[in-house]
């Protein structure tokens, strides 16, 4: 098995070739404005290492912050038609009601609210107003809206109204990109709907970006399927990633954590990923990042869906340092470090300059930072250490010391001894942990639906078989599949022993030999 993992970061695009479980090559290339340029460059540099040779590559896995950045920077967003099924409830708080006006102006293409939705116990809240949905879909078409987000009251419990409405919208508006909020899960209508609206706003960008990635792979002479890394440590095939781009949010941090786990052999640990501008801190549980269970703001929008629990702080290799009073970050020279840092002939004192003066790393010209005495360095590094310690502690869910894996290009800012940490682990290729995490990501298949007239055991077995089928269809190797989550909730009100079953299976990416592409 040979896989290429690529992480497109804000500053660098990292790439690794993993061959039979080992890192065969690792490179860094500057991220380009047009995304594909950086990927072409990464492929070219990988080829230059000769490790790639002429051999076959089974998969290319790309992690990208592109979709998250689009929301934060308000760029490349599509106009969205919001369809909510829940009248007469919720009317005074329509979709987009808690968005900042600037983002709402860009994204809100229209709001339609019709009767529908369910109760917490599975009863319909109101029957679905099918004619109302037809009418809404026709109006969306008349307004030229091609991207639609559908939400319904308690759809995570019973998604049937959203599904039916989606079918009607597709019938009236062929080719429309439709997001159902039930696909993003989680109770909390406004926050789940917001995640759906953001997803729908990314429809065009997801289409174009993934097409560009595929073109870059082909243009580099590779014949391998494209996978996009998701924020739970798995990958999605291009088609799936195009449909649910929000699941790539924060996948870079997830990849770093998974890469850290893989390179260190530890499944339960804290991971600190120090980049150029920020440090991400997260916790690995059984090899995967712990999920956040609370509202996460993305570009100012309150959302609630599957996201890793992360703390990001403004500490990185490029962080501005001022001495009186002592302040590190959040401003950073970022990718301009090799020209703006003092040790590199620039004028901005950075965290990297301090590390060079303290002898932690050999970079640039040490004589340029010779006037930074030992006490000053200790003061700055001590402040960085306290920032890391406080946030590692905040990320814990229980008292007790934990092992900590330090990765990322700025990992030298993490000292060997930290309060609340049993040991600090550094790994080879730790500066490319994110690309390693992308390369080793697995494929999942998930089922979440209501079964009737089956025993509990039969319903779970049926769901597991369906999930396995989906994982294989998504590119997983059947022999490697394992069930990672099973959950069942009886739905008391519905007749016929109704039970809602959620099963998730995970497996390795299948070798592409014999794959029908």
């Amino acid at each position: 098995m040979r896989r290429i993992g690529i992480d497109v970061g804000g500053t660098n695009t990292d790439a690794v070739l993993i061959e039979d479980g080992q890192v065969a090559a690792a490179i860094k290339a500057p991220t380009s404005e047009d995304v594909t340029g950086g990927i072409f460059e990464a492929f070219a540099r990988l080829k230059a290492t000769r490790a790639l040779g002429g051999g076959r590559v089974d998969a290319v896995m790309i992690g990208t912050t592109h979709f998250m950045n689009a929301v934060v920077q308000r760029r490349h967003l599509s106009k969205v038609a919001a369809l909510r099924l829940g009248m007469p409830a919720s009317a005074s708080l329509p979709p987009f009601c808690d968005w900042s006006p600037d983002l709402a102006r860009l994204v809100a293409g229209g709001v339609w609210m019709v009767e529908g939705g369910h109760e917490y116990d599975g009863r319909p809240f109101m029957p679905l107003d099918r004619e109302g949905v037809h009418q809404a879909a026709r109006e969306m078409r008349a307004k030229g809206l091609r991207s639609v987000a559908i939400s319904a009251i308690f759809s995570p419990l019973d998604p049937s109204h959203e599904r039916e409405a989606a079918a009607i919208v597709a019938q009236e508006n062929p080719g429309a990109a439709i997001t159902c909020s039930a696909d993003l899960g989680r109770i909390g209508l406004l926050e789940r709907e917001n995640a759906g609206l953001l997803n729908a706003a990314l429809a065009d960008l997801a289409h174009d970006t993934i097409a560009a990635f595929e073109a870059a792979i082909r243009g580099s002479g590779l014949d391998a399927p494209l996978f996009i890394t998701q924020n739970d440590g798995t990958v999605a095939e291009a088609a799936q990633a195009r449909r649910l781009p929000v699941y790539s949010f924060a996948s870079g941090a997830t990849n770093s954590m998974r890469g850290g786990a893989y390179l260190s052999g530890l499944a339960d640990a804290m991971v600190v990923d120090v980049g150029g501008t920020t440090t991400d801190i997260g916790q690995l549980r059984a090899g995967f990042p712990r999920e956040a269970n609370s509202v996460v703001r993305i570009g100012g929008v309150r959302t609630l869906f599957r996201m890793p629990d992360l703390i990001s702080i403004g500490l990185g290799g490029g962080s501005h340092v001022s001495l009186e009073p002592l302040q590190i970050g959040p401003l950073s020279v970022g990718y301009r470090l090799p020209s703006e840092g003092i040790a590199f002939g620039g004028t901005q004192l950075t965290a990297t300059d301090i590390a060079i003066a303290a002898g932690l790393i050999a970079l640039g010209d040490r004589t340029r930072v010779a006037d930074l005495d030992r006490a000053t360095c200790a003061r700055v590094l001590g402040a960085a250490q306290r920032m890391i310690e406080a946030n590692v502690d905040a990320m814990k869910t229980a008292a007790g010391d934990v092992p900590l894996i330090a990765v990322g290009g700025g990992a030298f800012l993490v000292p060997d001894r930290l309060e609340g940490v049993s040991r600090v682990i550094r790994v080879r290729h730790g500066d490319c942990a994110n690309a390693v995490g992308a390369a080793i990501a697995q494929v999942s298949g998930e089922v979440d639906q209501v079964f009737r007239d089956l025993t509990r055991a039969d319903a779970i077995a049926k769901a597991a078989a369906l999930a396995a089928h989906r994982a294989v269809a998504a590119g997983a190797d059947r022999a490697s599949l394992q069930t990672v989550e099973t959950e069942d909730i009886p739905i008391a009100y519905l007749p016929g022993n109704a039970i809602r079953v959620r099963v998730r299976v995970i497996g390795d990416v299948a070798a592409s030999t014999g794959r029908d592409r």
Partner: protein
């Protein structure tokens, strides 16, 4: 007549202050706040009237939302439903309400009277019946005063309406109205038994809307100016600083529809080495410092984020959070033997005599 306009800034402050007066429970005021922002954008305005200015024979509506927070998060809050509960009570009784007041100033129910007032164009009476949040219907000043518990109106957003016309006690009211609420889908907007101006003046807990706004304003101003929000709260309220530290452990269990459990803290600063434990039933009920009970209901125990000054709720408190614990003085009505029987430590199953942190 001194009617004072409540500005949108006041309502933003109210949401922060009411969450603090929620003493760990009461539900988030966020959806109510969103409704008020929209109502103000549409041109609605709300006025505040001191309880002392009510005439003895005025009628006042006391409102609250009842039910499961989970359902509220899916159905959201529609400002018109609570207004309809008040209108239904007027239709049922033939009274015309002088104003609308909160049952519970702590948490999300603090905003309900404002939503009703905006639609009905009546003032909000500056008073409530708890001065904080409490989990049960008999834990109110009017129940302590043995005032009539009925009638009560319940409204569902789909137009379902019911009136509980006669019950002999507050406990019966809780049982019967809870059943209706469950059938509605576990959420209902309710207008409690109408109160006369005389009753509100005697049994209402006065000035609590203003108090919540002032606390919230102090916190928000401190956040804006990077000042200490805890000091800001203690600057506007005669409260007492009890403890500073970090959450060390949280245990939660859901029993009989209540969230029960305890949070344990490790001290910092002046409290380095001192351990605090606070037990909760939806709200913070009793705080122990190194094994000694030092604060208990009806004293208000407020657990606040040490940096932002905002309340930390019993549902969401988690390991590692840096918190400051303060106590605020309880309404006097709860300090009588009858009041303590309703909301003192024994009402929550603790065999402890009530001792206020403010007596020391």
């Amino acid at each position: 007549m001194t009617l004072c306009e409540i500005t949108l800034e006041d309502i933003e402050s109210l949401a922060v202050g009411a969450w603090i007066l929620g003493t760990g429970g009461g539900g988030s005021p966020y959806l109510g706040l969103l409704n008020m922002r929209r109502l103000y954008a549409e041109g609605h305005r709300v006025w505040l009237m001191p309880a002392a200015e009510l005439a003895d024979d005025d009628w006042v509506a006391a409102v609250s939302n009842m039910g499961a927070p989970l359902v509220g998060q899916e159905r959201l809050t529609d400002s018109r439903t609570i207004a309809r509960a008040v209108a239904l009570m007027e239709e049922h009784t033939g009274y015309r309400f002088r104003g609308v007041m909160a049952l519970e100033i702590g948490g999300g129910n603090s905003i309900q009277p404002l939503m009703a007032a905006a639609h009905l164009e009546r003032p909000v009476i500056d008073a409530d019946m708890m001065g904080r949040a409490y989990p049960e219907a008999q834990m109110t000043s009017v129940a302590v005063g043995d005032l009539r518990p009925c009638p009560l109106t319940t409204v569902d957003v789909r137009g379902l309406e019911a009136v509980v016309d006669k019950v002999p006690s507050w406990k019966w009211m809780e049982r019967v109205s809870r059943k209706i609420c469950v059938e509605y889908g576990s959420i209902a907007s309710t207008c409690k038994a109408p109160r006369t101006g005389r009753e509100v003046k005697h049994w209402g807990i006065h000035g609590t809307t203003t108090k919540a706004i002032e606390i919230g304003r102090a916190v928000r101003e401190a956040q804006r100016t990077h000042a200490d929000p805890i000091a800001a709260i203690l600057g506007v309220e005669p409260g007492k600083l009890l403890y500073q530290g970090k959450v060390r452990d949280v245990e939660r269990r859901t029993t009989e529809g209540f969230l029960r459990g305890r949070a344990q803290f490790a001290g910092s600063g002046d409290w380095l080495g001192a351990a605090m434990r606070i037990e909760f039933q939806n709200e913070w009920i009793v705080a122990w410092l190194d094994g000694e009970p030092i604060a208990m209901s009806p004293d208000l125990i407020c657990v606040l984020d040490s940096v932002s000054g905002e309340a930390v709720g019993t549902e969401t408190i988690r390991y590692g959070q840096r918190v400051t614990v303060i106590a605020l003085p309880p309404p006097r009505v709860f300090l009588t033997p009858k009041g303590l029987a309703h909301v003192g430590p024994r009402a929550f199953g603790y065999d402890i005599d009530f001792r206020s942190v403010f007596d020391a």
